[in-house]
């Protein structure tokens, strides 16, 4: 049994929303954040993101595929989980999950198909036998890669990105809403919560892409495109500033208002969450990357390539820890405090094995990367190399642009 300081309601000493419910917003955060990056290119024409646009979309897709698993694993009756989808009770924020998740999944699958359509057709034409049948099935019977068809693709992608971006924002904003709209818990109940979740989703998504881009470049043996690294760092910095500001605002307002819950929340933050909130969320994951990214952004032109790569990658890794700590502090922190507002329970330590354990969480985090690897094997994440290498550079470049014309802003 957990130790209680002060007085907790007798049923309030359990952490019902476990590590899996920490993982759920963490994973959907990557979905939304990565989609924001791909939209910056496809929708807002930020061409500096071209090198990571396809990687970002595949990342969003890979994380979305596992996003519902932590929820499923957490349920007392996983076999009834489907009821949320088929018999939703619409006054519940959680009932929105089915609609938002499946709606966004449909949009993302369509967008992935349009973006990779040319690739699919090319692969279908190149291969034989079963492989050919597989790609032919993926191509859905159309093999038109003429300029007109590509133009249609392009318009469809823009349209889908236009629907997908608010979809991704709502999918994640809604996660924040699930917490922010619980009036019983003063640590959760704030209208800022969905906004904080969204901003930190952007931070985690961009940070993940900074790291992934470095890793992928290393694996492919080419140097990361520096304007892209700079742009990612700049946007990461921007969203990190917004996130930290909002997170601080949340507690400053409580403290300044001297709200009835502040006494217990301040105790929660300085005792039970001292490490995960003060140290990890605010200093190691907040202040330090803020400074590192400020260096990358403000001193961009003076930085050597390797310094820029290193600084931005370290900052991004710290940001990933920041966002995880934030999820932890919200989800678990809110349950360490009793609704009697008189007591705190001792630390929550997740189990190692079991359905909601640490190993499962690691597996859930690893799964999207396996999916990404499979995605790369099947469709190829990197832009296709121009085919005729013998011709002169200028012409090759033109052709490459034409081949990858799907993505032209």
């Amino acid at each position: 049994m957990p130790e209680i300081s002060g007085f907790s309601f007798p049923n309030d000493v359990h952490v019902w929303w476990s590590l899996m419910i920490v993982m759920y917003p963490y994973i959907t955060g990557f979905v939304a954040g990565a989609f924001i990056v791909t939209s910056l290119y496809h929708l807002f024409g930020r061409t500096e993101f071209k090198p990571v646009a396809r990687l970002a979309m595949a990342t969003s897709f890979a994380f979305l595929l596992v996003a519902s698993l932590p929820l499923q694993l957490h349920l007392g009756h996983p076999e009834r989980g489907i009821q949320i989808m088929i018999t939703p009770h619409f006054t519940s924020a959680m009932a929105g999950f089915g609609i938002l998740y499946s709606g966004y999944l449909a949009i993302l699958v369509l967008e992935v198909w349009f973006v990779w359509r040319h690739e699919i057709i090319t692969r279908a034409r190149r291969s034989r036998g079963l492989r050919r049948a597989f790609y032919a099935a993926l191509a859905l019977g159309t093999y038109d890669t003429g300029p007109q068809a590509l133009e249609v693709d392009h318009r469809a992608i823009t349209l889908l990105a236009g629907i997908g971006l608010p979809g991704a924002c709502m999918l994640h904003g809604y996660v924040g809403f699930i917490f922010g709209a619980i009036k019983a818990n003063p640590w959760w109940s704030t209208p800022l919560m969905p906004v904080i979740f969204l901003m930190s989703a952007a931070v985690s998504g961009i940070a993940l892409l900074v790291v992934l881009y470095q890793v992928v470049s290393k694996l492919q043996g080419r140097a990361p495109d520096q304007p892209c690294v700079s742009a990612l760092s700049r946007w990461l910095w921007f969203f990190l500033i917004l996130t930290i500001t909002l997170e601080l605002l949340e507690i400053i307002v409580m403290a300044y208002e001297r709200s009835e819950s502040w006494l217990i929340i301040s105790e929660l933050l300085t005792t039970r969450l001292e490490f995960s909130y003060v140290t990890m969320q605010m200093i190691v994951g907040g202040l330090i990357p803020l400074i590192l990214l400020a260096v990358v952004v403000l001193m961009n032109r003076y930085l050597h390539e390797r310094v820029r790569n290193t600084l931005s990658t370290v900052a991004a890794l710290l940001c990933l820890m920041q966002v995880f700590s934030m999820r932890w502090n919200i989800v678990v922190g809110g349950q360490l405090m009793s609704k009697s507002l008189r007591g705190l329970r001792s630390h929550y330590e997740p189990e190692m094995f079991g359905r909601e354990g640490i190993l499962m969480a690691i597996a859930l985090l690893a799964a999207p990367f396996v999916i990404l690897w499979a995605f790369d094997r099947v469709l190829g994440i990197a832009e296709r190399e121009p085919e005729p290498r013998a011709q002169d550079a200028g012409e090759t470049h033109d052709r490459a642009t034409e081949a990858g014309g799907v993505h032209a802003a």
Binding site: H14, W17, H77, R80, Q83, M94, K339
Partner: protein, 273 residues
Amino acid sequence: MAPRPTSLQVIPEQRTGATAPECGRRQFLADALRLSGGALVLLAGGSAADALAAVAEKPRGEAYSWDEHLYAYLIDTSKCIGCGSCVRACEAENKVPDGFYRTWIERYVIGMDQTHVDSPNGGKDGFGPVQVGFTATKSFFVPKMCNHCRATPCVQVCPVGASYRTKDGVVMVDGERCIGCAYCVQACPFGSRFISPVTHTAEKCTWCYHRITKGLRPACVEVCPTGARQFGDLKREDDPVRRAIAQDRVEVLQAHLLTEPQCYYLHLDKEVR
């Protein structure tokens, strides 16, 4: 601060034993009469089976209609002696898993500047003496349970509609439908719900719906030796609980959350949340 009164402690336990599982005094007498009738049949040459059948086929009365009732609960904190009978009766009646509580009692020991609150084992075993490091000026017990709120957040947030409020005003969980997501547990401001380690679904006080729909009182009310807990029907004009709510100065817990609790309190202190 009230040490456990030894004389009172015995009485409720006897009562718990006597009243379980579904007997009020009136009900007991009625059953006894029917049984004696059965015994007469037996003496007159009938078989034991006939006698038992006579008991089993007792007239059920009119069928229960939930449109004719609207229940409410009244707790007079000044009458509670912290004996814990209600918590024990609830556990026995509803098979509440150990360490979880459908009802519990809180003890408040209050001085001019400080407050001590505790609820050892939910008050199930009564309350032993307590030492506080300040001069206590008042002390009292507060029984707690699900408030069966009219505008309840737990029903609102249930994603599959497993939590619902009956027409007669009782908030219930359909254990066949509950997916065990615990959203309702988080949304209840009073800590009245829990996920049962046995059924893996949300559970809570039902005001002993299986009893009240048969005209009995909830187990906790039945065993309360001081009448601190009262159960009433707002649709009955002569109901004492209805009268108290209508005419006395009653309070509800955490009124600022606007959940419209249907557990009303008499003599509630400002320290109670």
